[in-house]
């Protein structure tokens, strides 16, 4: 069974409220997944300390703790060590995507994104990663 079939919950981390709003509608109503949002890397770390998620969508450029720093902190913890983490960014040129993947991201989704197709993109990336 592919890992994509097991997605039940998603954590969306983005400091931009507009992205959290439309992302939640997309992931929850189109994807059918329980979707929790966080407005910062710190909030994401606090949330993942008390519960688990099947996938984490993580904005790259955030004030204070940015996406790469948050990813490193999540990877350092046993509970989120193998959770697929997908970066979302408006800067998705080839060399930038390569750099994000080298940090351990499962994939990169470029902004702007199509709200109707975002869950499909998440499924594709998670399926490509396979079982942890």
């Amino acid at each position: 069974m592919s890992r994509a079939a097991t997605i039940r919950s998603v954590l969306l981390v983005d400091d931009e409220a507009d992205i959290r709003l439309i992302g939640q509608v997309s992931l929850q109503d189109v994807g059918g997944w329980e979707t929790v949002t966080a407005a910062s890397g710190e909030e994401a770390l606090a949330l993942t300390a008390v519960r688990s998620f099947d996938v984490i969508l993580l904005d790259v450029m955030m004030p204070m703790t940015d996406g790469p720093t948050t990813l490193a902190a999540l990877r350092a913890r046993g509970v989120t060590k193998a959770t697929p983490i997908i970066f979302m960014t408006a800067k998705a040129r080839k060399h930038e995507v390569a750099a994000y993947l080298s940090l351990g991201a499962a994939g990169v989704i470029a902004k702007p994104f199509d709200a109707m197709r975002l869950p499909e993109e998440v499924r594709r990336i998670v399926a490509a990663v396979g079982q942890p």
């Binding site: 931009e16 109503d29 702007p112 994104f113 709200a115 109707m116």
Partner: protein
């Protein structure tokens, strides 16, 4: 309420807030332009860049692609200034880059500029109110070509760049080559007489 209804409601709310978002960016750009010290300018540029970056990521997601393209151009210009200095403001405000037609959607073409004198040509198009995306290298051209309706090419090096991209099998939108003595505005007006 269906998903489509929910998304449409969010788009409508975002559209209503857009003038405020543009005004905020405008104020930040004005602060950068009018700063009395280098330190003040750096702070205002950083703030402007952050606001432009937000618009870049959200506008297209909410269905306002052209606003996002303009915001990307603003962010890239500000980043280039941070890295290399030089001329920060060939435009006075976001109003020059995102005039009402962009917000209202009455301009029907996005122009991707590939030119040996790209900044000057792009500035002329921007000043004329066109949604304009200036690309600096092959990767950018390949990445952004699909966003444009027209690729405007000027100069031998730019022509070689476009040929190189096409030889890789990349499909580009309609290509317009600027002849000697022809203004970019005139070339585009010939193609899109009803777009202004």
């Amino acid at each position: 309420m269906t998903v489509i209804d929910a998304l449409e409601r969010l788009r409508s709310q975002w559209r209503a807030a857009l003038p405020q978002k543009l005004a905020e960016l405008d104020r930040a750009l004005a602060d950068a332009r009018d700063a009395r010290t280098h330190s003040e300018r750096c702070d205002a540029v950083e703030r402007s860049k952050r606001l432009a970056h937000r618009l870049r990521g959200t506008a297209g997601t909410y269905g306002f692609e052209r606003v996002g393209v303009v915001a990307a151009e603003v962010e890239d210009r500000l980043e280039r200034w941070q890295q290399a200095g030089g001329d920060l403001f060939p435009f006075d405000s976001i109003g020059d880059l995102a005039p009402e037609p962009v917000v209202g959607g009455s301009i029907e073409a996005t122009i991707v500029v590939v030119a040996d004198e790209a900044d000057a040509l792009g500035a002329a198009l921007i000043a004329a109110g066109w949604t304009t995306l200036i690309v600096d290298d092959d990767d950018d051209l390949e990445l952004h070509a699909a966003q444009g309706d027209v690729v405007l090419v000027s100069g031998p090096a730019a022509s070689a760049r476009v040929s190189r991209i096409q030889s890789r099998g990349v499909t580009l939108p309609r290509i317009v080559r600027i002849d000697d003595g022809q203004t970019p505005e005139a070339a585009i007006e010939q193609l899109f007489p009803s777009a202004r």
